[in-house]
Symmetry: D2
Amino acid sequence: MRVGILGASGYVGGELLRILLFHPKVEVTCVTSKRHVGEYIHHVHSNLKGLTELKFIEHNPEEISDKCDLIFSSFPHGLSVKVLPDYIERGMKIIDLSADFRLKNPEDYKKWYGYEHPHPELIEKFVYGIPELHREDIKRSSLIANPGCMAIASILALAPLVKSNVIDKSRMIVDAKIGSSGAGGAPSLSTHHAIRFGVIRPYKPVNHRHTAEIEQELNQIAKDNVRIAMSAHAVNVVRGILSTCHLFTLKPITISDLWKIYRGFYQKEPFIRFVKDKKGLYKLPDPKILIGSNYCDIGFEVDEHVNRIVIFSAIDNLMKGAAGNAVQNMNIMLNIDEKTSLQMPGLHPV
Amino acid sequence: MRVGILGASGYVGGELLRILLFHPKVEVTCVTSKRHVGEYIHHVHSNLKGLTELKFIEHNPEEISDKCDLIFSSFPHGLSVKVLPDYIERGMKIIDLSADFRLKNPEDYKKWYGYEHPHPELIEKFVYGIPELHREDIKRSSLIANPGCMAIASILALAPLVKSNVIDKSRMIVDAKIGSSGAGGAPSLSTHHAIRFGVIRPYKPVNHRHTAEIEQELNQIAKDNVRIAMSAHAVNVVRGILSTCHLFTLKPITISDLWKIYRGFYQKEPFIRFVKDKKGLYKLPDPKILIGSNYCDIGFEVDEHVNRIVIFSAIDNLMKGAAGNAVQNMNIMLNIDEKTSLQMPGLHPV
Amino acid sequence: MRVGILGASGYVGGELLRILLFHPKVEVTCVTSKRHVGEYIHHVHSNLKGLTELKFIEHNPEEISDKCDLIFSSFPHGLSVKVLPDYIERGMKIIDLSADFRLKNPEDYKKWYGYEHPHPELIEKFVYGIPELHREDIKRSSLIANPGCMAIASILALAPLVKSNVIDKSRMIVDAKIGSSGAGGAPSLSTHHAIRFGVIRPYKPVNHRHTAEIEQELNQIAKDNVRIAMSAHAVNVVRGILSTCHLFTLKPITISDLWKIYRGFYQKEPFIRFVKDKKGLYKLPDPKILIGSNYCDIGFEVDEHVNRIVIFSAIDNLMKGAAGNAVQNMNIMLNIDEKTSLQMPGLHPV
Amino acid sequence: MRVGILGASGYVGGELLRILLFHPKVEVTCVTSKRHVGEYIHHVHSNLKGLTELKFIEHNPEEISDKCDLIFSSFPHGLSVKVLPDYIERGMKIIDLSADFRLKNPEDYKKWYGYEHPHPELIEKFVYGIPELHREDIKRSSLIANPGCMAIASILALAPLVKSNVIDKSRMIVDAKIGSSGAGGAPSLSTHHAIRFGVIRPYKPVNHRHTAEIEQELNQIAKDNVRIAMSAHAVNVVRGILSTCHLFTLKPITISDLWKIYRGFYQKEPFIRFVKDKKGLYKLPDPKILIGSNYCDIGFEVDEHVNRIVIFSAIDNLMKGAAGNAVQNMNIMLNIDEKTSLQMPGLHPV
């Protein structure tokens, strides 16, 4: 399978390359970057030095569809939606890492992203790419909308609970903490090291865009109208998301109930791990031990004092939160072992 | 005023010294440390080198009550309660930084701290030392129970709302993030740099002890039974607490309403600042700009999507969360300008 | 004394304000910033919120010389030299934090900074502002060229040795490590948090500009031609410089000799501390304990294995490396206690 | 090949497991840990959760030599030398990660490590395990002494220069910077996060033990008496070493000369990369882009101002500085592709 990456000079592009250059079933044949045309990949992704002689090319759909069978689009939202229809027409397999085809309701793009969706007729063709929820659809589809990083962490944390109907779905708090790589590679005052280092900074206290996809997916599971109250915080790491979800129970619930709900929901999922230990250093999920890996670690606690459940989910935002999950989707689409090229655990300590 | 510090080798002790060595109205005459008897202060608090020739002495109540008029106790909880009655009897002014006299209900010590309070008769003599709530009582008292670091951040964030009766008091979420200095100076596996660096670690997902004092204080204001659902997280900084409070409104509320509630409640408080800006790098509170200062920065947002209010409060856990607030209490007790020796702003950038 | 700050929106400007707003003998009357004209200071320096109602004004020499008796210039090199002659003519006291008047030889500006010095006639009027070397000159002067951050750390480390004539002056290695605030406040790819975090990055392996001032000052002391071989590294902190100097001895030397050399040279210097302990956590200098303070900590070791001396000097680059030292210079010029407003020790832990 | 790891609960043990669990030619059959006997590996190495059901066993040479054909010893120095003779007698292949068999001169153990070597007769049987220098010997040997982390970084940086005879070998400065994982997993005051975070701390200014192995290896190449003047610094990262080497040239040298020297020496080495670029973010080596990888990046600069050469070498101290290099040695011993299981590049950004 010949694979191309559109917009490959960003962090997600680099991470896709890190994974795909070692993938036994695919060959990366095209990588595009407007600013770096003609440059070797390792001039931008210095960690990849010595691993490939590929160079960035301009974005040219004709050439790319000639040379590739599948493309990952790391274009920003708003651009992907303009560029991808051409590839769709050419019958290519596409995994879009932007938000442009995640939301099923065309109205939502206006509300959450501020633009009128130019191709509402294409939206339904895309499968929302969370393998743990839509594996069968992904298998049959050739168009995938890869989820947002905070969205996938939160959906994986909440889906089992929402399905089991034990919580008040109108008051679901998601308090997310994220590293700086989540903000992308473009420098700004707010990401300047002297400013960004050491922060515990609220940055999207309300109206975070990922709310839309979280609610869409959970509504589908709940057959009900869930309400996500999300606030995001920037913390002093580069990679990692911890999503802390505070839920109120409708009736008393035990830890054992939660184990049943979560184990039942996720059974043999290869990239879901439960972290809830009584000893050791990692009694609950922490992205610290997931850096570089595709796992989503999930843990939970019951608060009898206020009829609350707390769910923690941790991911590497560039892996399960972006590139890793995208490759997982690709593997499923290609009908090969889902774990191919994704099995390396996180580094520790790091 | 001659001042002593019991248990002065810890981080709070060091911070008290940093402040008090420059205080124009007091002289530090005694500092105790079991492990460092006879050593110069700067062998433990290396930053203070050159500022004092004081040495650590053993804890000897007779000597200390001879040489001091007021003591700060940085002894751990369980020890303070054993040691302080002697000083109380001697009529000394005391500011206790442990939890031993914070809770008014003697039963609560068993529930939250696991010990039977040996001196329930003394509890009522202590004023819970949040100047913004109990200034008049502090003025008249000579015994102060200085609040817990997460407690003060959360109480200052929530008190105005609780008073104004606009939120559901049975479901108040406090999602706290704290730096490593909050764990004190004793090394352990979980605080080992290679392990603690880069974490976003849940560490008291339920049943955090500070819940007790937060509820006590808010109940008093609410004349009602509030319920705090608190979860704490360790993040990759040394100093700083951000307390993110998620509340559900009973009826629609506007930002302008919140401004009125908060401004009305805090009026001219010297160490409360409101941070809610439309431009600049610090639109909401972040402990990053408070490091070394005694301020508590408070900001808020309204989430119309779920009838939620989010309140953020940020402090330096060693200052407004411990030593700074303790000195503020002392200043009030001594009837001198409350801001004395506490006016330095946070370092920035740092 | 009415004081103005030119180019006050940068990190050094903020630090000057943090110090001067509490200085009992001066009043800050003017602060300029091209980009922030009309804005309150705390919109840029958020840590100063609540401390001043000053606003940034445009740079207008007429107005400024009317309202100020002394100015600090934080303009970048190349701009200071254009702007300051006007103020010199008006007889104002000036402390220039740029490099524009540091080098005595006009040729050196071309060599090290790439521009022809437009006012060579003014250079001699400026005193190179290291109080420990030029206190008497500073006292008598009204024009000060404040040293570069790495320069002052290295000069203070090496001056005693150079004077004592015990080392090979043709092979003096300075291996410097510095935090991100040293790069200033302008964001760029190389200072982007995701990129800058966690580095141990060589960034000026040869030809660092501060070499020129270090050699100038040491030559003067040595009455000889010293050669500095300097390499700088960016490390994962915001503030702080550690300058590690490797020197080769001409004849065997002992630790006791070094103590004599350093004590003899620095006698009662208020901001020089020697850090060379056998116990405790800070046996040698580390900027960690100097954050926010004006100290320069110096320590040393003798390596008998290779006839080497290692000297360590640590400073806070924004304090002794810039704003703090500038205020120290001002205090000396104003003939007031040199330590005024500069006595606060570093924060610890931080 | 059945492989065992002695002392597998430390960071190097964890890293060996991370690599070997995915190695196609070996199976890990035994892992020992005194403190964790009977526990699952992932209770200690939480990142490995889900990858193995192995448990720690007690150190029992009989059992281990039954179940393993090759062992890695991560025992501390002083213990390895006691334990390994038994395995040697049993004819097992051994890769020792301690210092106990690195130094060829038995006297040196007393001088640098403070103990009398109990088995001087065994020393010569061990090959010092730097593949880039001793590949042929490693191939033929079954006993390998894996080098120290700072030693390998420095030797790889200096070997080509020493061989080419262009520098003053009596005055070679190594200024090393290292992350906290280099100090191992045992908590102490000096590694406590609040204390260790943010340091630029000199910690072995003279007499660093790795000096011995660096000189041994370089002497062999130089056929001459080299003198290493080494100083180590702890910086605020977990992984990574940057070794900055300052050398003085005997005669003028150009960058082009250096390219020839280094390229000539290292030709097709799979894990040596040269980093010396005119553009991009990583113009010189920085461990930041090596985290998790087995590369050693080398770069250089010529300082005409002082007849100095600066060489930079960067590694991940747990990989090329320990576990990665050990596996590379194993691959060579087993006569399989040297890069097996070691090809993953560093994470970026991280």
